[in-house]
Amino acid sequence: MADQKRETPRLDQLESGPWPSFVKELKKSRKNPMTEDLLGQLERSYEDKVVHWKHGGLVGVKGYGGGVIGRYSDVAAEFPKCAEFHTMRINQPAGWFYTSTVLRKICDIWEKHGSGITNMHGSTGDVILLGTTTPELEPTFQELTAAGFDLGGSGSAMRTPSCCCGMSRCEWALYDTMALTHDLTMTFQDEMHRPAFPYKFKIKCSGCPNDCVASIARADMSIIGTWRDDIRIDQDAVRAYVAAGTFDMSADVVDRCPTRCMHWDGKKLGIDDSNCVKCMHCINAMPKALRPGTDRGAVILIGSKAPIMGGALLSSVIVPFLKIETPYDDIKEVTQAIWDLWAEHGKNRERVGEFIQRIGLGSFLEQIGLEPCPEMVMQPRTNPYIFYEDESENAEG
């Protein structure tokens, strides 16, 4: 049958202009009837100013509780080819590195089984294959695994961990983000593919405090590289930056140091490293002259999330410094302890950050076996409503 070509006068207006056009992308795949109908339905949304997808249904592949998001059109009679338009989340290689060969393999599989439309990548980090039908899920999965790929996470599970490019390209990587991300992903395959938590749990690994994967805002567990010893200074290179005149050393660097631990006398840059909070600003400004120290590790923070449902949170410190070394037993132990506690006592759809707000950080630390320390708070409490415990009871116990 001749497939109907959809008219898209509104979307067509988004083909012009200097920025790459998603409408052009859709049209590149319109020879696939699913995508042709997607174009039609999207045009309808642009006309109606409302979305035309229904709630996802439970769809998936055998033995997995996640990785596939069901999606159904609410105007299926009019756009039958995209009546079912499920998403498959494919776990990306750490750091989002590819070769042309492996990308072509994914494209060939998706041309055969799906719409030909993707996201490179989704917000959590997965390769997103957008648009296929229920019968195609299992064959797609089998071809993907034959090509060496597996599904990512969805639902109340560990979500696909992601990381910055780390040591592959960045001199500021204070631990091997890609190695840790890959290792955690492999270690926790069951937790990712078979949802058993109160809600989602995201892990993101950033190699330095610049936090290029936004772990402090977007991950339940944020692992951010840092160091303990002195910033390494090449004074000749410092003077070269000053001579180049792209910034004012006093106003733009020294005075912007959050702890004012730097001084510049016109010839030599001094840093009181005992007061440095490792913010990265001076290093960012002068990558050729300043380098992080060599005693390296990471800060572990916990609990960030978007607003749903108790309000947005940033992650907060639970381990001020940890050496990140294979086989990563320390991180795995703390992760497992958190999951055990939260899985047992967390409410349905309660992220770990909200769980901590409810039970208290002090209680949380006690139950996962971490000692409280002043690095975990901005300041001690100001209210006197303290849940004192009966010390004599503890003594007896």
Binding site: Q13, L14, K28, F97, G116, I117
Partner: protein, 364 residues
């Protein structure tokens, strides 16, 4: 049922990244010395060994056809041995060692419609969600707003002409799949019409206790309507989060005329200089006006221009506002301050001004 002839593989995890790294990265992994942006969109990373790696960054629309991915594969084969990567902000990076190929690669990418830039003090790709293309709860489209915005802000992608980095994010509802809440400028799709309950369907489609429990403000309570078990919504307590819709498809918040976008400013995730911070409300509501959302584009452009004019070198949006104060921000941007700007959710009081430290204006 067809007989499975091969063993079914599960839980194999992602392919190991090492097989996708170019030789220069394998050789210098963890042994890089410094980097510099040699020109917009071109990053030079120099290893302790003296080896050089050039990364050429091009924009993508995030929504990619396999035809375009194949094109990227062809370009990678032609210019850099087939090695490429994607960034956390949906850009593509081609990884080269031959400096002489940079300009031809940039020209080729531009010809194909994927411009190079987005590094340093610039506006790079807008992190965004699915919107009307593929989500069920979207209060606005994502790809369309992003396309319209970046067409307008494009000069700041190709040049490094801003005081500091300016990171923009778009999420099409309060679920914030894009976690936009810590961006210099965030655009957030919002519903503003009360949930409409389909009483006839609710009993069979939703669990009533779960639906009631889903509401952060306790605005939903069980009710019997026309003899059928359902729920009712207490209008004054609803803040349109759409959490009820997430757990119960028989409740709808979408509305062609009342859905729209809110604009938030001054968030960041980097620890550089000041600590990470949330974005704060700048504009409570702008209408959805597809295909090019002129009101949203004009509002964001204004924010970018005011920031570019007034911020000092290296200052992010939130650091600049912190220095000059919020009253000055509203004055300079011309945005009206309303009761919606004052927080009234949990811990709201923490955002109230609790001192007499105010920049008073001399009598007029």
């Amino acid at each position: 049922m067809a007989v499975e002839t091969k063993e079914r593989r599960t839980d194999i995890g992602p392919p190991h990244y090492e097989q996708f790294l170019p030789p220069v990265i394998k050789k210098n992994y963890g042994k890089w010395k410094y980097h510099e942006i040699v020109k917009p969109g071109v990053l030079l990373t120099v290893a302790e060994s003296g080896d050089k790696l050039y990364s050429v960054r091009a924009a993508t629309p995030r929504l990619m056809s396999i035809e375009s991915i194949r094109l990227f594969a062809d370009i990678a084969d032609e210019f850099c041995g087939g090695f490429l990567r994607f960034t956390s902000r949906n850009n593509v990076e081609f990884l080269l060692t031959d400096e002489s190929k940079i300009d031809p690669l940039i020209a080729r990418l531009k010809k194909e419609g994927y411009p190079v830039g987005g590094m340093g003090p610039s506006i790079t790709n807008i992190v965004h969600t699915q919107g009307w293309v593929h989500c069920h709860s979207a209060a606005s489209d994502a790809s369309g707003v992003v396309k319209a915005l970046m067409d307008e802000l494009f000069p700041h992608f190709e040049k490094m002409d801003l005081p500091g980095k300016l990171r923009i994010a778009f999420a099409c509802c309060l679920n914030m799949c894009g976690a936009v809440h810590c961006s210099d400028i965030a655009i957030l799709g919002v519903h503003t019409r009360l949930p409409v309950v389909s009483h006839a369907k609710l009993g069979s489609m939703c669990e009533i206790p779960t639906t009631v429990a889903s509401c952060p403000t306790g605005a939903i309570r069980p009710a019997t309507v026309d003899g059928k078990p359902s729920v009712e919504v207490i209008a004054e307590q609803c803040m349109f989060c759409s959490n009820c819709f997430t757990v119960c498809p028989a409740i709808s918040l979408s509305d062609a005329e009342k859905d729209g976008c809110s604009i938030w400013v001054g968030g960041k995730v980097s620890n550089a200089r000041q600590e990470p911070m949330f974005s704060k409300l700048a504009i409570p509501y702008l209408p959805n006006n597809p295909p090019r959302w002129p009101e949203v584009v004009a509002a964001v452009k204004n924010l970018v221009e005011v920031y570019a004019k007034h911020a000092r070198k290296f200052e992010r949006m939130g650091e600049w506002i912190g220095r000059v104060g919020w009253p000055k921000f509203f004055e300079l941007t011309g945005i009206p301050f309303t009761k919606y700007h004052i927080d009234d959710f949990t811990h709201a009081g923490e955002s109230f001004k609790r001192s007499a430290h105010l920049r008073q204006k001399k009598g007029e």
